[in-house]
């Protein structure tokens, strides 16, 4: 049995982790935006910056057969941007690859 009071505890441990995460409690927002005509854009905001987003976007582009890019945003950090409606695809792919849990994903849009 361990004595709880004597455990070493770093009070800043999760603080530093939290700042790395995102503005909002680790939720991954997946949004869709309409472009001209039938065209759409899918944005993925809030992926942990521990991951290399460039590699992620490279894998996504190959997997979904679409183009995409990483955009640096002063407030929201790095945001994935993929062409077309990839909401379903990206949700499945993120959970399958273990980058985000299903309850972390928040899909916006219609």
């Amino acid at each position: 049995m361990s004595i709880q009071n004597l455990n070493t505890f770093d009070p800043f441990a999760d603080a530093s982790k939290g700042s790395e995460d995102d503005v909002q409690d680790g939720l991954v927002h997946i949004r869709i935006q309409q472009r001209n005509g039938r065209k759409t854009l899918t944005t993925v905001q809030g992926l942990s910056s521990d991951y290399d987003l460039k590699k992620i976007v490279r894998a996504c582009k190959k997997e979904f057969a679409c183009n995409g890019t990483v955009i640096e945003h002063p407030e929201y950090g790095e945001v994935l941007q993929l062409q077309g409606d990839q909401r379903e695809n990206i949700c499945q792919w993120l959970t399958k690859s273990g980058l985000a849990k299903p309850d972390q994903l928040k899909v916006h849009g219609f």
């Binding site: 949004r31 944005t43 945001v79 916006h108 849009g109 219609f110």
Partner: protein
């Protein structure tokens, strides 16, 4: 019965003292609850009547707690709402439950009692419940009594099944979880030209939801990732092509987050702004929980960059 009474005498005495008012109430209400206590009318001694009343009440209480559990189970998506509510919520929920079922049974009358006492008495009631159930086989339903005759310990499942059986017997109308539907008009969505969409009955829907048009507007625009405004004849013009089905989806999400109570799912709620945070106050169960603020998040550039540059420069 008298013999058993003598065994449990001290506790019962205590009870009686504590809940004198209820006993009077109960005795008054006894006339119309004969069917739930068939033996009650036969008892002539005051003591015995009192005992029975107490027992009845306890049984009901037990049932009520299970009902609450049931309600809780029926709400998969109220995680946030529950933590802060605590005791108060529970009490409120009890009230709510009383109200909801009032029309179904006359015995409800007896259930109307002070919440404080109930809370105080809850702990020892739970222990006594079991004893009482065993002590009074005559007022127990015949359906699940295979273990009544024996002295063996009954399992939690058996007790639970029994409670649910009694519940179904007494309230046949609430068997299937009792969902009240929240019906509202479908949004009328019409395309204007090729690039804009009109949401014709926007203000009407705001009124049925009891929400500020601005709040719903903010949410819709943030979710759809576009811009738009309310025009002269109170219809909403959104930039982009949207179908009625898509708008319905977004509206459904809005209702789930900002209209229905996270604890009891009642649509009878008020949205208040308190120190920069929105709180959802339920009028039915009295729970109050914070809701997420509307954030549009990252917006990609979809228009012509040259046009933006021309505008800003």
């Amino acid at each position: 019965m008298t013999e058993e009474d003598s065994i449990f005498d001290p506790t019962l005495k205590k009870k009686k003292k504590k809940k004198k008012t209820f006993d009077i109430d109960a005795a008054l209400a006894e006339g119309d609850t004969v069917e739930s206590a068939p033996s009650a009318a036969d008892e002539l001694f005051k003591d015995d009547v009192d005992d029975l009343d107490l027992d009845l009440k306890k049984k009901k209480k037990k049932k009520k707690t299970f009902n609450l559990d049931d309600l809780d189970n029926a709400l998969p998506d109220k995680e946030e709402g529950e933590g802060e509510g605590g005791n108060q919520d529970d009490v409120a929920m009890d009230d709510n439950f009383d109200l909801e079922l009032d029309f179904s049974k006359a015995k409800k009358k007896k259930k109307k009692k002070k919440d404080l006492d109930e809370l105080m008495a809850e702990a020892d009631d739970k222990q006594e419940d079991k004893e009482n159930v065993e002590r009074l086989p005559d007022e127990v339903d015949e359906s699940s009594v295979q273990w009544m005759s024996s002295d063996r310990d009954y399992t939690y499942e058996e007790l639970l099944n029994r409670v649910f059986e009694i519940m179904r017997d007494k309230n046949p109308d609430m068997v299937a979880g009792k969902k009240q539907k929240f019906v509202m008009k479908p949004p009328q969505v019409v395309r204007i030209g090729t690039k804009k969409t009109s949401f014709a009955n926007f203000t009407e829907i705001c009124k049925t939801l009891h929400r500020q048009p601005k709040h719903l507007l903010d949410f819709l625009l943030a979710e759809l990732g576009t811009s738009g405004s309310v025009d002269g004849n109170s219809q909403l013009i959104i930039k982009g092509r949207f179908q009625q089905k898509q708008i319905e989806n977004v509206l459904r999400r809005y209702i789930k987050e900002y209209v229905t109570c996270h604890t009891c799912r009642s649509p009878d709620t008020i949205l208040q702004k308190d120190t920069r945070l929105f709180f959802l106050q339920c009028e039915t169960c009295g729970s109050r929980c914070s809701v997420a603020s509307i954030k549009s998040g990252f917006q990609a550039v979809t228009s012509k960059r040259a046009a933006i540059r021309a505008k800003t420069a």
